[in-house]
């Protein structure tokens, strides 16, 4: 299949070096290349879609905004996020707490915040617009913020939520997208080299039906419920009057809140989010189209934007002509320059570091003085004869 060739492209420089006679040099380059190309992507995108409108579908907007929040927090910038919300809940006239969208009752988390950038809003969220965003077939007048400008090295996260059924997802209560259409859209993306790897998450009723028809490579899919099951919502908030989140996304948000850019959590943990005991529905996933083992795929490969950084103290002279590769065999000795990529910032330590609290202790003079006085009073009251029993 053509995707085998596709995968070998990054290994071409590797193969070129392998032809070199100096085997030690090769060994080092292999290790660097392996480290750099282990995930295969160089940029991250996210397409987050909420397909339902009306006030009682508050939870779908909250779902999408929670994922938006996590994705932004982990490093994907607004320019790489396409956020599509079919209705405005924060400024809805039925919202008793205007300008907020809460994800948990007791108002623990306002996912609307101060810097939410919605790219497609209200009636702009249609099946046609969604498919055009995915495939890139937008009119030339479309602004950059409304385009998915991904390339063949992009990892894309696609999150859909709303009302769905067996094989379809309802948009705006007036039209549907079927699973076949979606699979074809992804195949278009593959043929146009618009993604490196795709993670597809859907939180609707009978969500697993939406990924049944995928046939393009490098797609991993998760759904909140199997065919024939309903995806249920989490608790209602009595002050706001609606259900605030869906169960699957609620527990996924809880899971994601613990992730930080340096996390090594992998996809197998994401598959375990929201078991049947919490979700009532059975979440499902599909990994057969995915090349890598899910255990080696980091959450931050899709949800965050984690870059590899190499720190160097040397100055690199860019004006010198590039030396030819043939000059290397002259140098017979081992080249011991090992470059290694710096670890990500130790975010976990920084996050969990509390200021070291020095406990206050009363000064010794005070304690001494106080207890001497107490003892003196005691002996004055009860007589000096007790002293000889003590000492």
């Amino acid at each position: 299949a053509e995707w085998i060739h596709r995968f070998s492209l990054p290994t071409c420089p590797l193969l070129a070096v392998l032809h070199n006679e100096n085997t030690n040099f090769i060994r080092i380059i292999v290790s660097i290349a392996g480290q750099f190309f282990s995930s295969g992507h160089t940029n991250n995108w996210a397409v987050l879609v909420c397909t339902s409108r009306f006030w009682f579908n508050y939870r779908h907007v909250a779902n999408t905004l929670s994922v938006y929040r996590s994705v932004k927090r982990l490093g994907i910038p607004d320019s790489h996020i396409v956020l599509m919300l079919a209705d405005d809940m924060a400024c809805n006239h039925r919202n008793p707490k205007p300008a907020t969208v809460f994800s948990h009752k007791n108002m623990e988390l306002n996912v609307y915040g101060d810097d939410v950038e919605v790219d497609y809003r209200g009636y702009e969220v249609t099946v046609e617009n969604f498919l055009r965003v995915l495939t890139g077939r937008l009119p030339p007048s479309t602004p950059r913020s409304k385009r998915l400008l991904s390339d063949d090295r992009s990892n894309i996260l696609i999150y859909l939520t709303g009302h769905g059924g067996n094989g379809f997802l309802k948009f705006q209560d007036s039209e549907e997208i079927s699973n076949v259409e979606l699979a074809d859209a992804f195949e278009q993306m593959w043929q146009k080299r618009r993604y490196n790897e795709l993670l597809f998450i859907i939180d609707t009723c009978q969500g697993a039906s939406m990924y049944e028809r995928f046939y393009s490579p490098n797609i991993m899919a998760l759904a909140s419920s199997q065919v024939g099951e309903d995806s249920l919502s989490h608790q209602p908030d009595l002050a706001i009057g609606v259900h605030l989140m869906d169960r699957y996304t609620f527990y996924m948000l809880e899971f994601l809140e613990d992730i930080h850019p340096a996390s090594k959590t992998n996809m197998n943990d994401l598959f375990k989010v929201c078991p049947k005991s919490q979700c009532v529905s059975t979440p499902g996933h599909r990994t057969d189209l995915f090349l890598r083992d899910p255990g080696s795929v980091l959450i931050t490969d899709f949800f965050g934007s984690v870059r590899k950084v190499e720190l160097t103290m040397d100055a690199i002279n860019l004006t010198d002509p590039i030396k030819q590769m043939e000059e290397n065999p002259v140098n017979g000795e081992e080249q011991k320059e090992v470059y290694s990529y710096a670890d990500q910032l130790p975010v976990s330590e920084i996050i969990h570091q509390k200021p070291k609290q020095k406990d206050w202790h009363p000064p010794d003079g005070f304690i001494l003085g106080l207890w001497t006085l107490i003892l003196l009073v005691f002996f004055k009251t009860y007589g000096i004869k007790h002293l000889k029993h003590i000492f």
Partner: protein, 429 residues
């Protein structure tokens, strides 16, 4: 006597433990009637937290308790509930002993009075149950339960005052001076209890209360020396705890100048909220003098009855202090059974008890209406505060009247007769 007392203790501890563990504890801990800016537990914790962060707890208007409290709670903050319960029980045991020692005073007086007033003297059988009644009045008083569950330091204040009573009645001059000094160190007002303490000792040691006698002045000098000396030592010691004098304006300056006008069951807040700055100092002096003012006249009148004087002073302090709470009220209410023999002379007891009950119930109601529902305002709450204080004052003055009347009857016989033998009535002019 030990068995009923133990039972009472167990019941009281159970009630408090049950309330500590329930969700009511937080609710009670923030009620303004139960905690004041001086005694609130939240402020103690805040002060200790500030100390752990390296900041003086007296910076900012958070913590207004004395450094010795810091020292004590530094070690006991995790065991706060137990500490308060222990201090409470100590309180009880002390009062218990206090009352027992009162009995001997009555024995002394018995042979001085005419025959028909003998029924006014209490028999030892009646007096046997008074310690238990005092313990019951204190332990099972809803005010004390609320105060203990809120972990307000008022409980510690009460404990120190009870220790003072105990040492005074037992006759130990040094301990009495020291405990009084501790009580004054915590809140300034117990200084007025110097007078009854001194009078009591003088009576015990048969020193006549006569301005011309040297022994009178000599005893006063002795006592004041011990008292002021220990006060000085305590203040210097507190300086060494934190290394600075800024606890003085935070504690004593706060009590005297009343900057915090959070509503409470006292009289200060409303007045000072509506007062112009120009007159503030004047009215501050007036209100504060009100507490200390009654010492001299009462001492002159009650110089032969220092224990009753102590009770009166305690009541006056609890009513007129700058930040009263229900814990202070409970302290002097606990002593009422000691004067149960005055019941036949009390005139307003029904009114007073009804008003006190009604006001206690109305406090949270009007607070809710004012703060939460917004359908009342501060005048409602202040009206109830006023009524509560008026009822307290009426109670105290009623007991005073009854006491004096009993004294009159003791010397002049119970059934008063005019010179021609017909029945006479006693009118208070």
């Amino acid at each position: 006597m030990a068995a009923p007392l133990t039972l009472l203790l167990i019941v009281a501890v159970t009630i408090r433990a049950a309330l500590f563990r329930s969700s009511l504890a937080e609710l009670i801990a923030e009620r303004v009637e139960v905690v004041s800016p001086i005694t609130a537990w939240k402020r103690v914790v805040e002060g200790l937290a500030l100390l752990d962060l390296g900041v003086s707890p007296y910076s900012g208007d958070v913590f207004h308790e004395t450094p010795l409290i810091i020292y004590m709670f530094h070690f006991l903050v995790d065991y706060a509930e137990i500490t308060f319960m222990v201090s409470l029980n100590k309180n009880i045991i002390l009062k218990h002993f206090v009352v027992e020692f009162r009995k001997q005073k009555f024995a002394l007086e018995a042979d001085r009075y005419p025959m028909d007033s003998l029924e006014l003297i209490r028999s030892p059988k009646e007096m046997y149950y008074i310690p238990l009644k005092v313990a019951m009045f204190y332990l099972l008083n809803p005010f004390t339960i609320l105060s203990c569950v809120a972990k307000s330091t008022c409980g510690l204040n009460n404990a120190v005052l009870a220790l003072f009573f105990l040492s005074t009645i037992k006759g130990n001059v040094l301990l009495s001076a020291i405990f009084l000094c501790l009580a004054t160190y915590q809140s300034i007002y117990p200084i007025t209890l110097c007078a009854p303490a001194m009078l009591y000792f003088m009576q015990r040691q048969y020193i006549p209360v006569n301005f011309r006698r040297v022994s009178f002045w000599w005893f006063i000098v002795q006592y004041l020396f011990m008292y002021l000396g220990s006060l000085f030592v305590l203040i210097c010691l507190s300086f060494f705890l934190l290394g600075s004098w800024d606890y003085l304006p935070s504690v004593y300056g706060f009590i005297l100048s009343v900057p915090d006008l959070t509503p409470n069951i006292g009289l200060f807040w409303y007045f000072f909220a509506e007062m112009f700055e120009h007159f503030r100092l004047f009215f501050l002096c007036v209100f504060q003098i009100n507490v200390f003012f009654y010492t001299i006249p009462l001492s002159i009148k009650l110089k032969e009855h220092p224990v009753f004087l102590m009770f009166m002073q305690l009541a006056v302090i609890s009513i007129f202090k700058s930040y009263p709470t229900v814990g202070d009220v409970a302290l002097y209410l606990a002593f009422l059974p000691v004067w149960s023999h005055l019941h036949r002379f009390l005139r307003n007891i029904f009114l007073v008890s009804c008003v006190l009950l009604a006001c206690s119930v109305l406090f949270p109601v009007l607070w809710h209406l004012w703060i939460y529902a917004g359908s009342a305002n501060s005048n409602f709450y202040y009206a109830i505060t006023l009524l509560f204080n008026v009822a307290q004052i009426l109670l105290v003055s009623d007991y005073f009247y009854a006491f004096l009347r009993r004294e009159h009857h003791l010397t002049n016989g119970l059934y008063l007769k005019r010179k021609d033998g017909s029945e006479a009535t006693l009118i208070l002019k």
